[in-house]
Structures are given as structure tokens and as C-alpha cells.
Amino acid sequence: MILSTSLNSTSYSFIDKLKAVDYFLIIIVAIIGSLSVFSIYSTESGNFSFYTKNHLIRFMVFFSMFLILSFIRVSAWYRQAYIFYILGILLLLFVMFFGISASGSKRWINLFIMNLQPSELMKIAVIVCFARYYHRIQSSDIQSYKYLLQPIILLLIPCYLVITQPDLGTAILIAGSGLVIIWLAGLNLKYFVYSGLILLVSLPFVISILKPYQKSRILTFFNPERDPLGAGYQIIQSKIAIGSGGFLGKGFLQGTQSYLEFLPEKHTDFIFTLFSEEFGFVGSIILIFLYALLIYRIIRIGFLSRSFFAKLYCFGFASALFLYIFVNIAMVLGLLPIVGAPLPIMSYGGSSMLSIMLGLSIVMSCKIYSRDPIGS
């Protein structure tokens, strides 16, 4: 561990640290992780092959990483927050020039063991960066234009880089994560109202610059039957799968929609659909409840923390996590347009898993070092 703890006034014994760990949170993550492994196993019709193996290994590696990184001092995260952000921007720029493309978008860096998607890391970097940014600012200063403009620029840079990949879904989630912290920091409500109005007014202009496939996704969202075999196919099939699952579901490995390959992207964005088809209403509610518990634990840690950084980070991360989950589930339920947003922990995908686990380790670090006042 490069980030040493020597600069801090408060010292912790190892036993104290172990005592401070939120084991309940770890258990919830482990349960959701196991459910995700079973779900990926089901997407492969009950064969323990490529996706299941990869997912299991990634989950175990990143889960361990989460546990280990939890012991990094939260003050270290605070100090490196801007570095983290700049690193994220650099990676995004790297992607822009040297990234690898798949199905029309350039999002990944080839790391040989896995393809890293820096935009996923950026989701966390923005939260850390903003938590630090607002940590020092007096609530009376927040409304000033200087402190209003700076974070907006900090937010626009990564969003622009991600949109040009193009990856509208992740860009929205990054923007959402940043806005959540700005909101928590206490920016006047009127700014949110104004910007909301401006967004509404500029909507026709925004739509005109959208890529044709993005437009078609939005139009399809309002009327999936517009193109049942093309853009509307995914959402129609997803609704059929979830609806036919019924109260108790079709049973583990019995989901015909996914088994017979009617479901597209079933191991990534549509993993909830598969889960819901096989475990029904009951299973879905349990999964949502587990996520709610996870979010509750994170918020609780925020309350227990003394520093603004930790509070802002935990509340911000919890809200961002909720946003990811909500966008994904609402999307597969046909409540939101298909924008390409994975379901945290459940979806197959290394970068998403990495960023969530990283985010959680910072949360845990807030818990372990909760008495740290951080900075001055």
C-alpha cells in the first residue's frame, strides 16, 4: 500500500479496524454476488463455461480487492481525490485515441486480462472528486458563481468524453453522480429548477444532434411496436420474459425466453430480466430489497462519519448506486428508454464490477476510519 497513514493524528489498532468493519454490508454484497453468478450460469443454459467462469473469477478478485482496499485510510482517498479524477480523464482521453471499438463505439482499453472501460471508473472518480471539492467549501459560499462554475466544468469534461465514445447511458450516470453531490452540498434549489427548464427548452435541439440509433431508441421507448423486430425487439422480449415469469417465476434454469435466445444481451444489461423470468415477482422483490439494504447500510455509514468528505461521499455513492440500479431496472421494465446501463454487481462486465467494488471499499474505509476528521 503506497498510501501511508502516517500523516494522520488518529491512530487505530488492527483490532479496532476489524471491529469497525460493517460485516452486514459485506454479507449483502456477497449474497448479491452469488445471485449474479447463478444468473450468469443460467444465461449459459446451466453450463459452467466462459461467462460464468469469468464472472465468478472477477467477482472473487474484485470482492477481495474491496476487502483489502477498505483498509486504506479515508484521508488518503481525500488527498488523492483530484489525482483519481485526473487519472480518469487521462484514461478517457487514451480511449479516445487508442481505445478498442465494439459494435460502433470506442469505450475500452485492452489490458489483456480484461478490457477496462474507464467511463465506469469515472463514475466513482467524479463522486470522490466532488466530495473533496465540497468538503472545504462553506455552505454560504456554495451559491457563488465561482463555486458553481468550477464543478460544472469538472462534470462536463468527462461527460463530453463519454458521450463522444458514444455512450449516452454512462454519460448520464456520471452526470447524475456529480449532480447528486452538488445537490447534497446544498446548492440552491432554484439552480436545479432553472437548469431543468433550460434542458426542457433545449430538448428539441438535443434530439436533433442525437445519433440516429439513439433517436430510434427513444422513439421506440414510447412505442415499442413501432419496430418489433428491430429497435423495439429488446424491450418487447424483455417485457414478455418478465411478465411470463409471473409470481414465482419459471424456476432456475427454466427461463424459456433467455434459454431460447429471445433475450438480447441477457448477461449484461438484461440480467434482471432473466432473473425476474426465473424467480418471478417474489425473486425480483427480494433482489430489489437486497439492493435497498445495501444502500441503507451505505447511508448509515455516512451518518456515522464525522468528516464532510466521508458523508458527501457515502450519501453521493449511495444515491449514484440507486441511480444505476433504478435506471437499469426501469429500462428492462420498459419504463425508461434502452440506454445501456449495467445492473451493479449482477451484470457481467469487469469494469462495472471493478468500479462498484472500488466505490464500496471507499465506503468501508469511511466506516473503519470514521473518526478521522480529515484536513482542516
Binding site: S244, G246, L335
Partner: protein
Amino acid sequence: MIKKIGSLNKNKIISRRLFVLVAAKIGLLGIVTSRLYNLQISEKQKYEVLSDKNRIREWKTPPQRGIITDYFNNVIADNQRVYQVHLSLEEVSNFNNSIFKLKNIISLKEDEIKKIYEKREKSKPWDTLIISENLSWKEFSKLNLYLHELEGAKPVLSTSRHYPYSNDLVHVVGYVGDATTKDIQNKKKIEENFVPGLKVGKIGIENSKDSDLIGNHGTKRYEVNASGKKISEISYNKETQGENLRTTIDLEIQQLAQELLKNQAGSICVMDIYTGEVIAMASSPTYDPNKFTHGISTKDWNEIKNNKLRPLINKSLAGLYSPGSTIKPLVALAALEYGIIDTKFKVNCKGHDHPYELYGERYHCWKKNGHGLMSMRNAIKQSCDIYFYEVARLLGVDKLSLIAKRYGLGSKVLEDFFLEEKKGIVPSTKWKKQVLEQSWYLGETVITGIGQGYIQTTPLQLCLMTAQLANGGYKIKPNLIYDKEIDLEMIKSKIESEKNKSVSQNILKDHQFKHYERLYRNPNNLKLVLDAMYGSTNEQFGTSFRSRHKEDKYKFAGKTGTSQVKRITDQDRELDLDLEEIEYKSRDHALYIAFAPFDKPRYSLSVLIEHGGSGSKAAAPLANKLIKKIIDRHELREKIRKDLKNIA
């Protein structure tokens, strides 16, 4: 201190703002949950149906056609094993390539390949195309040898319609072919059971009894994946074979009839005079129905189409001919029934020098030197034209028309069973006014008396007429398919009770008759006519005397007929050419009607030879051979009849 207050304040703000966020989250969770409830509980059924629709696909399996047999259970239409090659489109990556490879293994002609491409246009990506319906064993084994190179190709053992007695029964049984859009629209049974490649009846029994013969298609339900690939069979509702049909035809008599008509154009019909069972219905020339099953080749089709003797016409029921002298027994009967003449009535036939004259028109007898003084019996026996000119004039065409219709002329014998059956024409004054919008001339009555002029009949109508004369004058129900409701004993007892029914003069008025009802006023009139027909065949100077059977068992009675194709001019009469000297198209049609055995009549027949010359020379001799066969097979037929009755 300020800082402390500031951070307290900040803490408060954060908590308050978080509270708003949490409230929003709970709200959004509520939306997600209610959406889940809506999809998975409220609308579960709708999505379950959609999910099944997604994953289950049905394939129809073709039904087997019912077997057709003759009266003696000889199979005359069955299903034969054929070797086929099908192409499963979903397994083919390059269609052109597959066809090219197949072309090198089995012989596919250019027009066949064109048809395959047309079929492919119409089919769905998961359909199976029939590439060849009827492969030879050699091709089939070759195909199996190269199968590994042919993706999607499947060698299939299937069945197809086969007619073991090919040409002999085509005019009765008909043939099958691919169902056209019209066939599917017209017949509900075809629509319901349609499967690509389904064969349906085109003409004959195959067509008219299609709904019984087709059977019901099977249904195989498969679970399929998103790209339509079969994953597993869920259920198989087996197809059922169509009904088997027993016809009233006697294969041996039918074959003999066809043999007798060989190389000529003509027809032979044989009927049971009580049950109305059609025992033979031959028409010549014929063609091979097996050629139509897999689509006939252009060469074969042209050969059939261009044959001058018109094989495609079923002459027994779609050929219209003037009945000629075969109408004479009916003319005599009509005159007797209406009391126009009696047995003593005589007319003098004085030969070509003294023809019959009416309003300046002259009408000749066929016999140059004349018959002399003719009574009714002799006039029928020797077929004197002069006598019938006079009787027809006295009778009038309307009364003749009424009796002719009563005995079966002018309407379809088998009702709507055959699409191609024709009604013929039985003229009357009213008919001429309605159809031709002209008045009737007496001269036309005179020639109608010898079966010329407007009158047009089919050979099957003449056979029915003969049957209804020979059975003593009762209306029968002709049929081609064995029907257990038609029972000989029942018919005979009905006839017996009709015999004793008292009738008034009204019976000679125009009215509808039910089956097995008596058609005559006085039974003696019929006896006189039948006896005259006996004379015609079995006494010297009778027109068919040379064709008689001497043995009592085979004795039959008949009437010859020679139907003019064109008007005989005085010049023709002068020349008096032999048959061979006249151009084929101008030769007379030869006709003969008969019933047998004379003492206890049971069967009637009609023979027609197109452009065969005189009835006595060309048609009557065939009846001689036929009747022997019919009588010889009578016992056997009766045995079958009893057996069938016992089963029923």
C-alpha cells in the same frame, strides 16, 4: 466558532438534502415495484401467451389420402412409396450453392429449378422445400452417399398417389395434383388441412369426393429458439388417413370396355337397372393419371392435348351426341301411352323413290328399297324411319319431350358428382322459343322422332334411359360410390308396391318423380316396346341380329342407332359410299343400347363409337362381348352385395 456553526449548518443541509433524495428513491422504488406487479401479476397471462407464441412453432404433417377400390375391393387408387429430397431452408447457408450441388447428384431440369426458386420466394425461412417429389432408387441412393456435402438436404420416404390400372379408370377416378389457391379457397376441407405439397383431386372421384379422401393433417409442435431452430418436440398430433371409398365399378368389365374401345373414340356405360350402380363407365381414348401426380411434363401434356380423338373429354358424360334411332323405343312408348297409336297402327315405307313428305320437304328412310307396311314392333325391330316420322308428327314434340325427360334425358345423371357432366338437350316448342327465340317447325318434330335435329344426349343418359325402360318403368338413382342405403331388396319391394298403384291420366302430365316411383301409365305399353327391342336383336331382319347371343342365359334386347354428323344430301344418297370412303370427321356416330338378360332384365348398357359408321356394324358387336362378361360376373357381384349387406 463561526466555523463550527458553519459546519453544523452544513451538516444540517446535507441531512436535509439526503432526506429529500431518500424520499425520491422510495418513490421511484414504488414505481418499479408497481410496474413489476403490473407485468408479473396483473398481466401475467398475456405475457405467458406471448412467451409460448415465441417459443412454440407448429409444423403440419400431410395426411394420407383414402384408398379407392372397385366393387370387388380391387384397389384402383392407392398411395405408393416414393423417394423424395427435401431442403430445410433454415439449415442452408447458401441456397444457390445447395441447388447447384443437388443438380449434380439428381437430375433437375431447368424448368424444375425455376419452379424451386419460385417456391422459395413464397416460403418462410424455417419452411422445408420439396426439391424433387419422385426420385428413382438410383438417384436416391446416390443422394444418400453424398449427403454429408449437402447441408439442409434430407432424403425423405414419402407416399404419393398411384393408380395401378393407370389408363383404364382415369375417366372415373380422375387424378390428383398440387392444390392451387383456387382449390384452397373453394373447399373448406382443403383449407383446413392444407400442408405445402398437399395433393388434391382435380377431376373424377378424386375431385368430387376430395373432402372424404383427404383426411386430417397432423400437427407437430416444436420448441424453437429465437432464430427458429427446432430445440425439442413438445407434442405430435398424428395425421389421419382419409376415408376409403368403394366404388360401384367392376374393374374387369371396365377393363374389357376400355379394351373394346381401343384405338377408337367412344364410350361404354353399364348400369344396374334397379340399384342404379354404374358398373362401367369407359371413355376412349384415355391417358395415364400417374403422370399428373408430380406435375405432367410439357411433352406428355402436348401429346394428350393434341390427340385428335380428345382423350381429356369424358365422352360418357361430357360427350353430346344425337341419339339417332336409339330414341325410337321411347317415341313408340310415348305414342302408346298417350293413346296416339295402337299395335295395329301401320305406316307404309316405300323406299327412296317415295319419301315421306311434309310441306314440300322430303324425309327418307335409311333403307333404299323401303321396309313395306310397318307395324310398331317391326318398325322398332328394323328401325324404320318413315314409321317414326309419322308417329312423331302425330305425337308432337312436346309430349315426346316430356316422356324423354321422364326417362332420364335432358338432365345430369350423376347430378353434381362430376364437374364436367353435361345436361344435353331435349327440345320442345317452349325450349326453342326460350333459347333460340324462334318458333318450332313441324319438320323438326319429324326428325326428332328418329333422334336427329336439336336433341343431344350423353351415352350415360342413354344407359339410364335403357335401364328405366328395362326395369319396367321406374325411376332409379344412379350412383358411382357404394351406398349401403341403396338396397336391392328394398328397391324391389318398393317397385312391387308401385306396380299395384292405380294411376289416373294425370300421370302423363309434366311432374316430378321420386326415386323408384312408376313412370308409366299402362305396363303393357312398356312390354310391347321391350318385346320389340327383343325382336331387333334376336329375330331375323332385326338391326342387331348378327350380334345376338343364342344361349338363353346371355339373351339380350337392344336398339341400334346411327347418328348423323351432317345432313345427308341427295348426292350422298346417290353415291351410297362405304364407311372407309368417307372422311373420318363426316362419318356417322354408331350407337347401341341394350339390356340383359332378356327374360329377367338386370343390366343396361350403352355403346357409342364416334364416327364409327352404323350402330349395327360398329356398336352392337361390342355389346355381345360385354354382356357375356356381365352375365358371367353376375353371381359374384350378388355375393359381394350380400356380404356387404351383412357387414352393414
